[in-house]
């Protein structure tokens, strides 16, 4: 009985470790209001394509807040470079939206999407 308990606890512990290390894909999903990065990225894309810079500035701020929430959850399972990459992409995108530069905004957006998609890998 004691041996079974030890083996079970060990397996559970290893299971928890595996879950923590692979939880990036799951934890980047939205769980509450204001942390839906996917939707905000889609909105931002529309804003840039339609050159709606006012709404774009609002959406990038919302995206920044959403990312702050998500990054706290996924930080245990992803690479630091990816987290820093997303931070920098958001900052760059923020600047290009403020400068109303469509070309730079699209480049920044694609970069951000690329980092976001690679986050779970």
């Amino acid at each position: 009985m004691k041996k079974v308990m030890i083996i079970t606890c060990t397996c559970i512990l290893l299971g928890i470790f595996i879950l923590i290390m692979n939880s990036g894909g799951l934890l980047k999903q939205s769980f509450m209001d204001g942390d839906d990065v996917e939707t905000l990225l889609r909105n931002l894309n529309e804003d840039i394509v339609e050159s709606d810079w006012k709404k774009g500035q609002e959406d990038i701020e919302k995206l920044k807040d959403a990312w702050d929430m998500v990054s706290k959850r996924v930080q245990f399972s992803v690479e630091r470079n990816n987290l820093m990459g997303i931070e920098l992409s958001i900052a760059r995108l923020k600047g290009s939206i403020r400068g109303k530069n469509k070309e730079q905004s699209l480049i920044g957006y694609e970069e951000l999407i690329s980092y976001w998609n690679n986050l779970e890998e």
Binding site: L13, L14, F17, F76, E79, R80
Partner: protein, 234 residues
């Protein structure tokens, strides 16, 4: 990114993973490890430390590396147990360095072992005169096993035809002031008996005792917290 918290979480994962894997890989002591096992240990430990502090890469690949190495070590251990030939290939085999009192220079050369290292190892076996050695074998863990010439071997009770009493393992009765009841039960004794033994030695409470053990002859050894010794003189 809160790096400290990430390092703490990854540290916990690395620590307990290493603990679990090393428990699975047996209980050999460092002195019993072969050179190969020693290097394996260093590599696995290095992976666990990278898993903890290298935040530039995700923890998962390092953990998988840890699992792969631990699994391979386990498989090699199983194979060496079943097939002595593989064991000999991986761990090497013991080599005779002194046979019938004569140093085998060829074997020393093969092992890249010099005379001074041999003499040092002999001294570590309490042999300061090479004349006393009949055989010396270098084991796979790097230790030298020595067989002294018969005239230099210690005298045993058997040589003197003396009968000796059985000497088994001692049993702990009190540790850190706590009476170990299950150990008392094992040897058919009870707390009452222990109390009376303590009282005869002027001990009022088991809490005063750091360690109490009883040997198979029924002799009690008691060590108190207060040793009444001047620490400065030690």
């Amino acid at each position: 990114m809160n790096e400290s918290i990430v390092v703490i979480v990854r540290g916990v994962i690395g620590f307990f993973s290493l603990l679990i894997f090393t428990r699975l890989l047996g209980k050999q002591q460092v002195s019993q490890l072969t050179l190969f096992e020693y290097i394996l240990g260093i590599t696995i430990g290095s992976m666990a430390s990278t898993l903890t502090t290298d935040l530039s890469s995700a923890a998962w690949p390092h953990w998988v590396g840890l699992v792969v190495w631990a699994t391979l070590v386990y498989l090699v251990q199983v194979l060496t147990l079943k097939f002595p030939v593989i064991s000999e290939y991986i761990n090497g085999k013991p080599r005779v360095l002194i046979a019938n009192g004569k140093i085998l220079e060829k074997n020393l050369k093969k092992l890249r072992y010099n005379l001074f290292e041999l003499l040092e190892q002999l001294r570590m076996n309490n042999i300061f005169d090479i004349n006393q050695v009949e055989f010396a074998v270098l084991e796979t863990n790097g230790k030298l096993t020595v067989l002294k010439k018969s005239q230099f071997q210690s005298l045993t009770p058997k040589d003197m035809n003396l009968s000796t009493d059985y000497m088994g393992l001692s049993t702990e009765l009190i540790y850190n002031g706590v009476v170990m009841e299950h150990n008392l039960e094992k040897i058919d004794l009870d707390e009452k008996w222990l109390d009376s033994q303590l009282k005869t030695r002027g001990i009022k409470n088991p809490l005063e005792v750091y360690l109490a053990v009883i040997n198979t002859s029924g002799e009690l050894y008691i060590d108190l917290y207060k040793d009444h010794m001047d620490d400065k003189s030690l």
